[in-house]
Each structure stands twice: as C-alpha cells, then as structure tokens.
Symmetry: D2
Subunit: 304 residues, 4 copies
Amino acid sequence: MQENNKEEIEKMRDESRTETMRAVSSEIEKILYKPIPVLDHGFIRVIDYMGNDSSIVQAARVSYGVGTKRVQEDRGLINYLMRHGHTTPFEMCEIKLHVKLPIFVMRHWVRHRTANINEYSARYSVLSNEFYIPELEQIARQSETNKQGKSDVAMDTAKGQKVVDTLDDFSKSAYEKYSHMLDDLGLTRELARTILPVSVYTEMYWKIDLHNLLHFLKLRADSHAQYEIRCYANKILDIVKAWVPFTYDAFVNYRQNAVSVSRKCIELNKRMLKGKKITQENSGLSKGEWQEFLTAFDLRDLIS
Amino acid sequence: MQENNKEEIEKMRDESRTETMRAVSSEIEKILYKPIPVLDHGFIRVIDYMGNDSSIVQAARVSYGVGTKRVQEDRGLINYLMRHGHTTPFEMCEIKLHVKLPIFVMRHWVRHRTANINEYSARYSVLSNEFYIPELEQIARQSETNKQGKSDVAMDTAKGQKVVDTLDDFSKSAYEKYSHMLDDLGLTRELARTILPVSVYTEMYWKIDLHNLLHFLKLRADSHAQYEIRCYANKILDIVKAWVPFTYDAFVNYRQNAVSVSRKCIELNKRMLKGKKITQENSGLSKGEWQEFLTAFDLRDLIS
Amino acid sequence: MQENNKEEIEKMRDESRTETMRAVSSEIEKILYKPIPVLDHGFIRVIDYMGNDSSIVQAARVSYGVGTKRVQEDRGLINYLMRHGHTTPFEMCEIKLHVKLPIFVMRHWVRHRTANINEYSARYSVLSNEFYIPELEQIARQSETNKQGKSDVAMDTAKGQKVVDTLDDFSKSAYEKYSHMLDDLGLTRELARTILPVSVYTEMYWKIDLHNLLHFLKLRADSHAQYEIRCYANKILDIVKAWVPFTYDAFVNYRQNAVSVSRKCIELNKRMLKGKKITQENSGLSKGEWQEFLTAFDLRDLIS
Amino acid sequence: MQENNKEEIEKMRDESRTETMRAVSSEIEKILYKPIPVLDHGFIRVIDYMGNDSSIVQAARVSYGVGTKRVQEDRGLINYLMRHGHTTPFEMCEIKLHVKLPIFVMRHWVRHRTANINEYSARYSVLSNEFYIPELEQIARQSETNKQGKSDVAMDTAKGQKVVDTLDDFSKSAYEKYSHMLDDLGLTRELARTILPVSVYTEMYWKIDLHNLLHFLKLRADSHAQYEIRCYANKILDIVKAWVPFTYDAFVNYRQNAVSVSRKCIELNKRMLKGKKITQENSGLSKGEWQEFLTAFDLRDLIS
C-alpha cells in the first residue's frame, strides 16, 4: 500500500496533541490518520472531523428553543430525529477522509454530489503501478449471485483463475506501456494515462456532512451496490460508529434496515392480520410488487 | 442581547480543554463560543471549525502528488490557488457559526444555498421581544448614498428621529399584539407570528465550507450589499483572519478587491499606455460601460 | 390579486402558438400562464416546463442500454423507478413556476436548496398592500388540531374574529407607516420594508427538477406542514398530475402515502401474523415508537 | 459512431412538430436531436431546452418589479446582468444534452456538481468497442505546448505513430479480453469492465442550467483545460450561440475573455499611465505574479 503525503500525515500523528475547546469525539481520535486497509491496495483514513453526537442535539435544540431543553435526553432525541426524517441537525457534523480506491469505484462514489473532493491528478502526476485484482472466491461469488451476470455460465475455479491471470497480466502490460509512452516516447501524462484500465488506483480527500454520509451509506452499504464499493462503505460504517455512536445506532435501527412500504401493502397486511388469506391474484399487486411485498414484510415462510 | 442555549454554550467554554490530534488554529480557539455583537441585538459566535491554512495546502498537494511537495511554501501556494481560481482545496475547511440576526437579513443570507442551516422555529417556540431599529446616523447615511432610495427627499434629523420613533413604537405594538393573540386569544404560534415585522430577530446555526464562505463575503461585504448584512460580513472577515490568516490575506489581495475586466477594456488601456487619447466617444463602450471602465481602472482623476 | 409582469405574461398566452420538436405534455399546456389562486391573495402559475413522462423513461433507458428497451412499458417502468428509489431519471424533467406567497411561507419554501429562485426585491421596488389574513374557520381549526398551539385555550368564534380584526387592522397600519416613511420621510425602501409583517405577500420565479419537486411535495403536502404551505403544495400536486400523470400516480401510491418501517416493527408484525399477542410492554418499543408503530401499520382498531 | 436509443431519437425528429405555448428558440430547434460529432467516436446532441434570452430578461424583471420594465432593452439588460455578476436570472434557462465521450473526459465533466446525470451503466449493459485514439498531429501538439508533459523529450512523427499504434493495439486487445471474460469465462459485467482503459467511450444524458453551463464553459473551453474536453466545450459554445444569442455575446465579451485583476495591478497600471517606469523589481510583485500581470494587461510587447 503506497501513499502520497505519507510522511507528512505520519508527522501529524506523532506530533504532541494540542488542546482544543471544540467538541471532541474520543473514540475517533484513536483512529485519526491511521490507514484502514480496503481491497488489495486501497485504504480509508480519517483526516479530520467536526462535531459529535452532542452537536446534533445542540443544533436540534436551536430549532426548538429553550422550552424543550432536556425534555428528552440525547440518545432519545437522536432516535426521534432519525425516525422522523429531521435531517438538518445531522448536517451539523462533518468528516474528512483520505481514500485510495480503484477508478471504477471512484466513478460511483463521485455521483454523490453534496461532498467536497480533491482528487490526485493524472495530468500533473504519474499514477503508481497498483491495480485492483479481485480475489478468486470473490469472482465466483459475484458471478453466482449477481443477476446482472450471465448466470447460466457456471464459474468454476479454473475459469476464475483465468480471470485473475488475465486481469493481472493485462494490468502489468498496461503499466509497462504507460511508462514506455511517458519515458521513451515523451508523451504527456494526460494522454499516456488514457491507456490505463479503470481498475487502477487513485486517491482523494473526501469531505461530507453526516446527513449526506448516511445517505451514501444507505445506498452503498446496501446489498444492491457493487461488492467493491460496499467494502469501503462498511469500513466507513465502523468509523461512524466510533465517531457518533448514538447516531450510528439510530441509523442502523431506523434507516439502514428500514423498508418503505406503500399504503396498499399496509392494507394487505391488515387484511391478513384480520385472518384473510392473501395471494398475488387477490392482492391487486403486480408480480414484481408482490415479490417485493413478501420481501419487505418478511413473509416468504408464511405465504408459499 | 438574549440568547438561546446560552448556559449550555458558556459551559463549553468553561470546561477544561480537551486534547485533539486534529488540525488546530490557535487564534480562532481564543474566540470560540464568545458572542461578537452585531447591530443592536445580534451576534455571531464561532461554535466549531475544521482545518486551518495547512489543511488547504495539504489538500492541494493531493491533487499535485509527491513531486511538487515543498516546491512552494504554504503562503505562496495559497496565494497561487486564490489567484488561479483553484477553489476545491478551500472547500476542505469548514466553520460553524451561531448567528442572531433580523429576519430581513436572514432572507438575504439564506440565498446562499451551499450551507447547512438550523433556524430557531417560530412554530415551536415563542420569539423574543427584540427588533432591529437602525441608528439615527445610519438612517441618514443610507438615505443619502442609496440610489435605490428617493434621493430627492432630503433626510434631516427631525425626519430621521421620526423614523426611529415609528419603528420603535410599531415593534412594541407588534409584540404586544403577538403576545395578546397567543396568551389571551389562544392562537397558535405559527399564525400569531405572522403579525411580526421582518425586523424581528431570529437565530440560526450556520455551517459552510471556506470556499463558499469567501463567496458569501465577496458579495455581502461589498459596498452594494445592504448595510445590515455588511455588518455581519465584516465581523466574519475578522473571524476568517483569525482562523486562516494566509487565506484571509490572499482573499483580500486577489479576490475581494479584484475587478473583472473585459478584453475590450484591456485593449483600451493598452492604447492609452501607448499614448492615445481615449474618450467615451472613441472607446466603443456604452455610457454605462465607460463609467465602469473608469471605476475599474481608477481613472477618474486622469480622464476628465 | 395583483401581479407583476401581468400584461407581458398574458401576451404570451394570446400569441399564436409556436411549433416545437421538443417533448410536449398536452394537459399542462392548457394551464400554462394561467394563475391558479391560493390563499387570499396568492397564486401559482406555470411559466415553463421541460420533459414529460416519456423523458423519464428515455433517461432511465440510457442507463440500462439497448437490451432492456421495451421490456417494460412506460407506466410500469416509472412505477419501478419510484418504488426502488431510482431518482436520477426524474431529475431529467424541470418546471418553472411563478408564485405569489406570504413571506412566512416563502421562508419555509426557500429551505429547499436544490432550486433556482428569482424573488421580487423590496430593496428595488415598493411592496404592494397585500397581507395574508387567515379565514375565521381556519384559525379555529388550526388552533384545535395543532399540538404546537396552546390547546388548553378554547378558540371560540368571538376570539377568532378578534384575531382576524387584529391582523387586518395591524396590516393596514403597517402599510400606512411603510408608505409614510417612504413618501413623507424619504426613507430608503430597504429600511422602510423592515416594518412590514411576515404576512406581506412577495413573488418569485421558482424552477426545480421533478425529483426535487416530489421531495418538496412529500414534505410540504404532508399533514405536519403548516396549513398555508400545504395549500400551495396541493395546487402543485394538481399541476404535476396534468404534467406527468404516470409519475403522479407512482408518487401518490409509492411515496406520498408510503411509510418507512424499521426491521423491529416488521418483526413485531410477523409475530402478530403468527398469532402472538403484542403489547407495548412486550414489544421492546418505547412509548413513542409504539404509537408510531400503531399508526404506520394502521393497527389502532386491532390493538386497544 | 454508434448510439443507444438512436432509432427512438430519430423518430422524435421525424414526427410532425407539436404546438407549444412555451418560450421557443428558433435556431436551436433546427439542431434538436441531431448528433454533432466530437473527437473520433463522440457526439453531443441537444435533447431538450427550457427558455430563451427573453426568459432571462423576464426573470430579472421579477426582481426589479414593474417600475423598471422596458427601461433597458433586452440585449442591454443581459449585458448588464453578465457584467455585474447577477447570476440567478441565467439559472432560469435549462438544457439537456446527450453526450458520448471517453471515460477520462467524463471524469473531469462530472466534477461539475450542479447538474443532473444519467450515465450508461457498465454493470447492466455491455460497453461497445470504441476507444479514443488521439490524432497524430494532436499528440505532437499537446506534447509540445503542455507544460505538464516532459517538454525536454521531443516528439517526432515516428514516436507519435508509435503512440497511436500502441493505443490502438492495446484498446483492441482490451476489448478482446473483456469479451472473452464475459462470453467464455462467465464473468459478471461489473467485474469484466474493470479491464477497460479510461479511453473507452460511455454515454450520458446531462441536464444543467445556463448559469452553471457558462461556468463549465469558462473553465473547460479555457486553454488550460485538456484538449479533449475543450473539443466538447467548443461545440457546446456553438449550441449556446444558437440557443441564447444575446447571452452568448455577453458571455464572450464580459466573461470568457475577461481577466480578474488585483487592486495592486490596477495601481501599477495607473503609475504606468502617469509615465512611471515599472519593472518586476520595483513592482512589489513576485516573479509569478509579474508574469501574470504582463499577460493579463497584454504588456509583453511594451515591457521587455
């Protein structure tokens, strides 16, 4: 795992700590600046943060004025805010991460627009020789479960190994040609890099508020997200847990594992509670919706 | 000057300081949580901040990679970024302010959309009896210089005093009726508050990144902004100076006092440098543009 | 109902129609430029729109490529996108409204940041003599149902009439003093307007994409929103129905009336379906959550 | 030049035009849906637009009220808005483009966050066999002028041809391996695509308001932008010219070719106008700033 700015960042950790009057989160201080490995060459590192669980509570109380102060204690208030979709107090916390990740993951990541980004520039600097090569087991697993794959083609170990070898050989070859065009043919960096596969690693500083971070995690730690970005999202969930533990619990309970259900499904459920037998045919739902209903209400073992 | 959350916030200041490994800005720590008075009842208070001048430099260097490290020292790099419109590194710093301000100022403020806001809610809480009444001298000054006023009507002290009295009496009367409708007639807060003038004070937590803050200051500390929001912007400039002194200098030198000049004006200027006599008639500029040209190039004393 | 730009806008309607190759929505063309009254002096008027239901489908198909074309017909695809939270295709439609509304409603409205706004300026122009005065029945209704009001004070007709009279008199008085300070004392518009209550009407052009508009409607057509902004939201719902009827239906079915339920509540519901008796005590839910559970699953008549 | 949705989009053009009461721009109607070629396989196509020059004027007049109507005619008002940085009226126009572009260009493009995007998904669909290969002359030109390249290595035609061949061979090979992993090894699309170089073409629908589009063009049609994105920006400039001709002229005159100059430089210039001899030494500017001053004021031939 290579890193830019490594020395400089290590120095920050080593330097004697400074006093501050700002809100502090003691658990996240322990992991500050430490790279947390992700995938084969990637990492996430917390560079800075602003606020803690109390900052959310404090901001919420501005909106409600003195009267409601201390009526609900902090954890209860955070749960309430999360359940009722009061999102602005969560915007009052901010985090800055240093992330190393393959370009194809970055391309998903950057679609979250409410964030600040400084990315390593392949126009100004030479990219390093690091490419994401999935692990053998992961290739098979993704190919099995992924509806977007050609599920009819079985992926055996021999084939998986061929994939690994192909990706590995091709990455090496790409980097050789990249270096050759730069060093021997005198090509500009901005054109030479066009030969590199989207599996090549890049780096960025990424800064985002807690509300938008939770939205990112809702989508990217979800089972529908591609495995590789999920690996990053899961590490960030651990960071959130250390940083704002009350908010983390509220998120997991009321948001990450929550489902949105339509009025129609609530009514079907109620008819069942009253003892009616419900089938797709008499439900008024399309086949797709019916399947989603069974999943959302976890009814597959009750309704055959 | 009344405040919500006052006790709670004072406690933060009094509590013994905590150690942190994060980037710290020593000068802004000194003013943390202290209300800085603005206008007759308003204030600005720094609640939290993220990053300092070095954070900007560090983020810029991610984009440029190891090669350029230490080529330029910090101040020089920040000047360079400011001059060349490289805005993303400035987004890597963030500040959170607690602001008390009249509603008509808030209505300008909130037009800056790239910020996070938690405002005191007049649906959930009762507003306090505080209204902005301009000072006598300010009324005269604004009425003289303001082209948007009725410049033909001279504003003498007697008239100014009538304005002050009118505003003062009317505010008191508004608050009485507000209280009466709430307390005696049983009206909801959300309807009772509709009687209050836009001079009534409200409060908010306001969080914004440094790049967008500088954009706010460019527009709102400008002489074209209304006096009242300029008072706030000028206090925030002092805060920025304490927080990120290199960035403050770069902003003042290369942005706040900079002017944008068209190619046509550059050419006119060059013809003058070559000794040509330029007038509005031979300039090819409209009358409005000609005046703007004289102002931008500070030529009023050279060209009669 | 006074209006700025009235003549100019009427002319647009009268002028012979122009041909276009763009996507057209025939139903919304019928109401283009026509002011739809809201509250006592307000209105909403559609000034322009971009796209229709087919534009959403077309954008969604870019993401999925040629393969999936015509697999699902348009309405089905729009339902699918709405159910699964695929929001970007809805961003491909845009609408521009001219809205006249009281300032206190505008202050809620403007909190939706992903929109473009041009508001009537009270620095450059004189505001007209129009203030929102709630109807007598509405005052009573809001005071009864609104938990944020002083529910212990009964609001009888006599008291309600006093509220109406107070607001009415005070508005008239405010406008007189506003005019007096402008015309007789020579005060600037920017200072004179500070005397006006937040019930005064203002106007704006408001442009927003369909995804963000639906988010606005989810929050502002909701029963928790203040009555006055709900009136505007309900009129906009009618406009959406005329503009993109498939999207409107999908929104109503899968979003507006949908509820977000936690994993814990899904499990409680399943235990009930299996015949277990559930009470707040054995549910593991707090009192607040228990009430929310009964509401979300519409169980108040099943569980006493 | 392959395209998705081609048939469907062609049909739109062929279908008889529809009447609309909306604002129409006659020149842009002529190019609606027609692909404008960019680079070797790319294109830009206008899918939809909202508003025209008059819409900007109309929105600006909402802010200024009835009083100022017709004081300035349309072109003059648009020039005024552009010169004075009044940006919100330009946000009242919107355009939707269908763009085919290499991934490395897309990666720059997507950094402009205030826009709506629907991109072709390489998780759901197979990418087509099209890669950007720069032209021979372009390779040499970029290598000469680009300070970011290794300027000491001369790029002769033989070397340039080697670059073209290398990129061409490697792209073909990449696509073969991509197809092989998909078709023969049964790999998922989401993993197979990681082998493809960033020169591969992708497609998107891109929707943006005119103000943010002009900001994009200011940065991306600039000589510091990479050649390839500049090609796209220049075609979009042509589109803007057809769509909103007054705004286009105002942009070119007052924004695209304008320079931002500091107070210090204005003072130096004034000293020169008064006959003083200015050199870097007596200017108080750093070497970098001095060079920028000579460039901004076009003084290289006057000051040796």
